[in-house]
Every structure is written in C-alpha cells, then in structure tokens.
Amino acid sequence: MENKTEYKPFEVDQHLTAHGNYWAGKAGSRFFTSLRDKKKLLGSPCKACNKVFWPPRSVCTFCFGELKDMVEIGPLGTVETFTLVTYSEPIQPRTAPFIYAVIRLDGADTGMAHFLDEVEIGKVHIGMRVQPVFAKDRKGNILDIQYFKPL
C-alpha cells in the first residue's frame, strides 16, 4: 500500500504545553496537608469492607459506600514488586537508572507505587521492608516522600 512518493514528505513541527492545577478533593486535601505538615501518611478505611485504601478516596472501590474517616498508615511498608528503569524521559523527576516499587504500607490493603533508593538493585526483593525518606522542603505533593529505603 505504501507508494513511492512523487513529493518530499514534509513534517509540521508542533509543541504543546499545558499547565494543570488539580484540586485534590476531600480525602486528597487531607492527605497532602498531613504529609506536608506532619510527615504522616493517611489512608481511607471502609468499615463495611474491612479495607484501608491508599491513595485515600471518598468512595469505596468495592461497596461504593461514602468514606469520610481517615486513618494513619505506614510509614513502614513491604515491597510487592519492583523494577529498575534504565531510560530517562522529561516526565521523570529523577535521572535513570532508578528503582520503582509498589509498597504495601503497614495498615493499608493497597500499595503505593514510588521510588526505592539507597539500595543496589540486586539486593531488592519482594517482601523487603522499607521506610520513607521525607523531603526537607515539602510542597504538598507526592514527592514530599523523596523515596523509600530499606530498614
């Protein structure tokens, strides 16, 4: 189907930039304020389902009941899976190579995907116990946790 062209293919260059501000909502506002001001991590418990969710949310994933309470979770957690990213992209806040992990915080039933550092990739294993390293200058976003590191 691809024909030999009788023209020189011409490319139109385009660059889109959009700055977004997202309201974090009822549960998210409390989560980020608590993280920034107290270095405490919050999750949303559903008493009906006996589950605690991270990220915190206002509606239970399972029973669709409204969730109003919040409980402290972590800060320690357990590695559920991990990878070493070898490529760099402008969307990444770190330069490769770096490690991503899904970490189940103590007291939560769902995991937090984040960075793992201060460990060689060969030493990382599923089940490894880890703790968060908080940023000194916290701005109220997920990078207020700089990364997790082994206990």
């Binding site: 559920e80 899976t81 991990f82 990878t83 969307i91 806040p93 997920i142």
Partner: protein, 381 residues
C-alpha cells in the same frame, strides 16, 4: 431488529516503524478504501454509521476526528469516536447494530506512534494527583506487573522470551508485520535491559498503521458476503486504576470479560471450544498472563503450555499466528488488529499464517497500563 452481528470485511495497512509518506487521515483511508473495495460497499449509501478509534494525545490534536471525518464518511452523518483499544470499538459497533439503530457500521482504528514519544503520551494515563509526577509510563508499569507475575506464579524470563521467539517467527508469514525474524531465547534475554525483567525484545515496538473493519446485521451480512464471521460473544470489564490497588499478577477484569463473552457464545469449556486466540501481547509476559486470564490454561501454566509448542501455528491452540503486537502494531489499533486477524483466520484468508480448521476464535484487547480495561470477542464462522 437483528439478533446477530457479523464481520463482513477487514482491511489493514502494512504496519511500519514510520509512515512519513502520508498523514494519519490518508493512512486511515488506505484501509477504508480497501475494505470498501473488498466488500463492494460504497460510502455514503451502504454504511449508516462509523466509529473511529484513536487517541487525542497520540494524534497531538483534539479531537482526532479533525482529520478523520471526511475519510470515514462522517460528514453530516453518524460518526462516533472511541478513545480506547480497538477491540472496544467492536463492542460499541455491535451494540449499535443489535439495538436496531444501525445495520452496517464501519470501524477504523489508526495511530502513528512515530509522531511523538510513547512514554510522555502514556504518562498522561496516570492520575494527576498521586501518581503522574512520579514519571510512570506503560513500560515501567508493565515491568512491575511482569515481576509480580513471575514471582507469584513461577514464570521465568525464558518463558516470556519463548513468546517473542514464536511471535516474531509467525510474523515472517504476515505481510503486514512491522518486524519479524528468527530469534532465539538467548537473543531475547541478551537484548538491552529497558526495565528488568523487560528487555528490548520483550516490548512491542512503535509502529504506524490503520485497520478498518465492517460490521453488519445478519440480514445485511448475508447480502454482502458468503463468508460472514459472527460475533458469538463479547464482554468488557474494568479493573481499578492505581498500580497498588490490584495484585498485578491477577487477571480479575479479564476473567469477567471472558466469562461474559463465553456465556453469550454458549461456550462452557473454552479449552475445548476455542481453536485459536489473538491476544494483546504488548509485552511478552502478557501473552502468558492473558492466556491464563482467558481460561485457556491454568494459572501459572502458560509458560509450560507455550514451551510445549501448544501455542505455535499447528499447535493445539495457536496464539497470535499473526505475530501479535510484538511484531509491531500501533496503540489503539492493537485490539482491532486482534479481531481482524481472528476474522481473517475464520474466513480462511490468513495466507501463509493460516491455521487449519479453525471455527471458533477468541480476540482480546486491553486499554490502559497493565491491562486495566479488558475486552474479549468470541468469533465463529
């Protein structure tokens, strides 16, 4: 109102790393004009609705119908846009015909992955409040899923590498394939590490291309072709968004989507009934994971099942005889290509990659990272 919907025609462009000779509308028209020619149907009189499937962020403009309306026959007529995998466009097309609103629907999926950066595009699929600024993309997310699956079910990198070896060899028989060749398990294992356990050859490459497919009611289908391929069953299901919300090694959404599709098709035992499968192997391990989720082998058994040769062309259950996504099929087009390839097999028009005696085929597509949304289509002739 019709009770059955058939695929009456299929056309695909060749998939290539970069199509600099055409814009995406012109590329889409290659597939559309071919499927109209094959079926003898004409725009606008014979087609009463159209569904285009692509993604604004991939296209770099909103909304991507901007360049599609004229080529798909959408001008002053019914045209919908689906920003999900192409398999789900088949779901919506079938629903529209079953409702009685339409009798003949043109479905077309297109993407030119060469026009932008896949990691930046896919990062936008992550929620903006908790996850996006960590820099995740579909490959790094898939690496987390691959590790978890291998850990929980004892799958090895070699097991996944055998999928690559099989699919790239199958792709040699597929004139549409973007990449193909004779590779060994050692070649896959020693290809550059991208996000271990995923290496370069474990990852479907960027590609440009389009697929067009025509659905019709039973009455229309009988007049259009003597080889209709019937949609016997179809099901979709969503899972949770966040990477930590689900055990990434499990396949609950796929099991439910498949359950619905099999029930609609009256299939009680898919292992006995299904003759071939085209599944969304965006990453090597996913062919294994989805085979288990589709109930075509036991949990944790897909590695051994593949190593036994069962999924080869000529095996007990050929899987991705086309070469699958690993041979280079664009995002969004992926699932429509799965359905199209399954339909070609059932029509006996799959050329050198033809599986003999296939009567029931399963096509599976997924949208979002780690297969968050699943769509399963059961086809029969």
């Amino acid at each position: 109102m019709t009770e059955r919907v058939a695929i009456v025609g299929v056309a695909q462009t060749r998939f290539a790393p970069k199509r600099s000779d055409v814009n995406y509308g012109e590329m889409a028209y290659e597939a559309i004009s071919q499927v109209l020619k094959d079926t003898g149907l004409a725009l606008p009189e014979d087609i009463d609705s159209a569904i285009s499937c692509s993604h604004d962020i991939w296209d770099g403009q909103t909304i991507s119908d901007i360049g599609i309306t004229d080529v798909i026959g959408g001008h002053l007529r019914a045209e919908e846009k689906m920003a999900m995998d192409g398999s789900t466009a088949v779901f919506y097309g079938a629903v529209g015909i079953l409702s009685g609103e339409y009798s003949c629907t043109l479905i077309m999926a297109h993407t030119k992955m060469s026009q932008t950066n896949r990691h930046i595009v896919n990062n936008v699929a992550f929620d903006p409040i908790y996850t996006r600024m960590l820099g995740f993309d579909f490959t790094s997310a898939a690496a987390l899923q691959a590790r978890r699956y291998m850990y929980k079910y004892g799958i090895t990198r070699e097991d996944a590498a055998r999928v690559v070896v099989k699919n790239l060899a199958n792709a040699k028989r597929n004139p549409c394939a973007s990449q193909s060749g004779d590779f060994t398990v050692a070649d896959v294992l020693s290809s550059p590490a991208v996000a271990p356990p995923l290496h370069k050859l474990d990852i479907a490459p960027d590609a440009d291309g389009a697929v067009a497919l025509i659905l019709a009611s039973e009455e229309r289908a009988r007049k259009i072709t003597d080889k209709p391929v019937w949609i016997l069953g179809i099901g979709t299901c969503y899972d949770a968004h966040y990477l930590g919300d689900r055990d990434l090694a499990d396949t609950f959404a796929l099991e439910k989507a498949a359950g619905r599709a099999y029930a609609m098709a009256g299939i009680k035992n898919p292992r006995r009934s299904v003759d071939l499968a085209e599944v969304g192997d965006e990453f090597s391990y996913q062919e294994l994971l989805w085979l288990e989720g589709l109930g075509l082998c036991d949990r944790g058994e897909a590695g051994r099942f593949t190593a036994s040769g069962a999924t080869a062309i000529g095996g007990k259950l050929p899987v991705n005889p086309s070469g699958g996504l690993l041979s280079g099929v664009p995002a969004n087009v992926a699932g429509l290509n799965r359905v199209a390839e399954a339909a070609l097999q059932l029509r006996g028009e799959a050329g050198d990659r033809q599986v003999r005696g296939a009567n029931i085929a399963v096509a599976q597509g997924h949208t979002g990272f780690c297969g968050q949304h699943q769509c399963v289509v059961v086809l029969g002739n």
